[in-house]
Symmetry: C2
Subunit: 329 residues, 2 copies
DNA sequence: TATTGTTATGTAAACGCTTACATATTATTG
DNA sequence: CAATAATATGTAAGCGTTTACATAACAATA
């Protein structure tokens, strides 16, 4: 049932039907009623595709992330979707994984589908040359990154100051007497690097030396933390505190420490990152760094929305993380 | 840059350009090369909106769920997106929450945006009358439910046999000597009810009486489990085993038990549900029921895809859950 | 009443594509 | 080499809207 059929049934022109559907003024009350009756009777559903074609706007946002199953990303995506929905936009979700080719492919499709804007949820490569697809996309629609550092026309970013977040965590542990700290991380992402910088800076500020054996890369997930501690012990690294780049890694750390008969926080202190649900499920509960993912996501949405409305927007914003102290330290 | 401009630059008609873009045969190799060169030079991006309008298909699927932040739903959504992407479809994600009005609203928008099909991820009401929007939608596009029991034209469902899943859990606990079991659940959803049935059936099969004080509704999340145990103790309910409808609830149970000085599994056995990441983060690790969410999601995708291709598909399928035995029982 | 100004409605073009059909070109056959 | 078949290309309509512009209807003013 389209606008033509409605027009015929109601005995008016398609323009009038369109006006009624869009609540435009300048349509006589009686005509409006007549048309609305027909609309209701035949359960008219406007075709948003046709509308998008002429309006040159789809009211759809493309969101690229590596994997929604990561609770951190899921939170961001939730916030993005909910906030945009209030403004009449929908979200196309893309799980790109880590391969660049996938990201490129998804980006291409989003442009073909004419999304009005793109939000990248932690999915930016460190090497700028690998981000060509982002610059290309920004040529057609605004692009907003969560935790990315690209700059350029039509590119905006909102980052969490993870360097400071980790720095504060080091500071806290130091103040509680810890001198031998180890950092476990799983990804060389933008924020991953920032966290490592924070760890190093914190150590140095306290006169400690962040040796190569004290910053180690592990697999993602619980297993990563578990194996990480195994490796530390195997290599006979001494430590009284372990910091991680993710709560789940810290959960794995707790598990291995427990198996090894070490008490947390008595023998070893542990601090995670993200303030995720997992940090409440462990025993003891994890101390962690809240990197304000909702706040960041909300910021990204606001930025994109403003850009779409033609407002001037600063190309980059920053959110400050916060220490959450619980039982593990 | 559209098809007309390309046609002009290449000195051919728009039909020919269209043919080249769509790799249709019957275009002379030299013409193809000539057009392709222009396509490349001007970075032509086909407009999927225009294409959708004439093809009457958007290659887009609407996915409604209450909340992606729930790791169970996130897994389902991930699988749905990934599988459909392989077939050239994208996914619009909708977090409807629990209110019916939101679900209705989202459904309406999906129909306006002309999605080719809809998948409901655990978002069906128990009272049929509250699901009118689903029946209405099925009038226009195929609808597939994960864990829902609606039937009707153009409606398909794939469910996990959660009744049996919980039944097996009861059986296991019984075989390990437990006689006083308590069930904690958080939602009166379709699968929530099935689980309760399984618990009751299991108890009765073993000659036990599932009293009203042994099936209690709690808040969702870690807090729910925590407060649930508090309440049990306050009301002086005796138990040697606790089953829950979600792993996170079980995590809360473990936490409270630990605080109360009860050892798991020595004093109390605990079994969760979902086999989620959380079940690996607790100490001890949670025994749980794997309800095969990926398998279910993959099934839903296959069903919808087959329907879209005009195949005959059984209106309802079932997946069998599996006990995962770990340290908590 | 003729004139002007408002308000309501209609007509037709445009959005960017696909595709049925018509036509032009080339190859194949007797 | 003409007749026919096969292939390549072009033309135009249609997908379902919005909207600029034209026109009609009506009210207000001189």
């Amino acid at each position: 049932m389209n606008i033509y059929e409605i027009a015929k049934k109601a005995g008016v022109s398609i323009a009038t039907v369109s006006r009624v559907v869009n609540n435009s003024p300048n349509v006589k009350p009686e005509t409006r009623e007549k048309v609305e009756a027909v609309l209701k009777e035949f359960k008219y559903t406007p075709n948003a595709i046709a509308r998008s074609l002429v309006k040159r706007a789809t009211n759809t946002i493309g969101v690229l992330t590596s994997d929604v199953r990561d609770s951190y990303y899921a939170s961001a995506i939730y916030t993005i979707e909910q906030k945009f929905r209030k403004w009449g936009y929908n979200v196309i979700l893309c799980n790109t994984g880590l391969e660049i080719e996938n990201k490129r492919e998804y980006m291409k499709i989003m442009l073909q589908k004419k999304v009005d804007g793109i939000i990248l949820v932690g999915s930016v490569f460190r090497e700028k040359s690998n981000n060509k697809h982002i610059y290309d996309a920004a040529h057609q629609v605004p692009v907003v990154m969560l935790n990315g550092d690209l700059t350029g026309k039509n590119i905006y970013s909102i980052v969490c100051d993870d360097e400071t977040g980790t720095y504060k965590a080091v500071e806290l542990l130091f103040s509680r007497g810890h001198r031998k700290m180890v950092y476990l991380y799983d990804a060389d992402s933008f924020s991953g690097m920032a966290k490592i910088r924070g760890f190093k800076r914190g150590m140095k500020a306290k006169g400690l030396i962040p040796g190569s054996s004290s910053i180690i890369k592990v697999l993602p997930g619980v297993m990563g933390g578990y194996e990480g501690v195994e490796r530390l012990d195997r290599e006979d690294v001494k430590y009284t505190a372990i910091l991680t780049s993710e709560d789940v890694i810290a959960a794995g750390v707790l598990k291995k420490l427990k198996e090894a008969g070490k008490k947390v926080p008595r023998d070893v202190a542990v601090i995670g990152y993200n303030n995720s649900q997992v940090s409440l499920c462990t025993a003891p509960e994890l101390s962690t760094v809240d990197n304000k993912v909702e706040e960041m996501a909300a910021g990204a949405v606001q930025i994109l929305y403003d850009v779409l409305r033609g407002k001037d927007v600063p190309p980059s914003m920053m959110v400050t993380p916060e220490l959450v102290i619980r039982g593990s330290c």
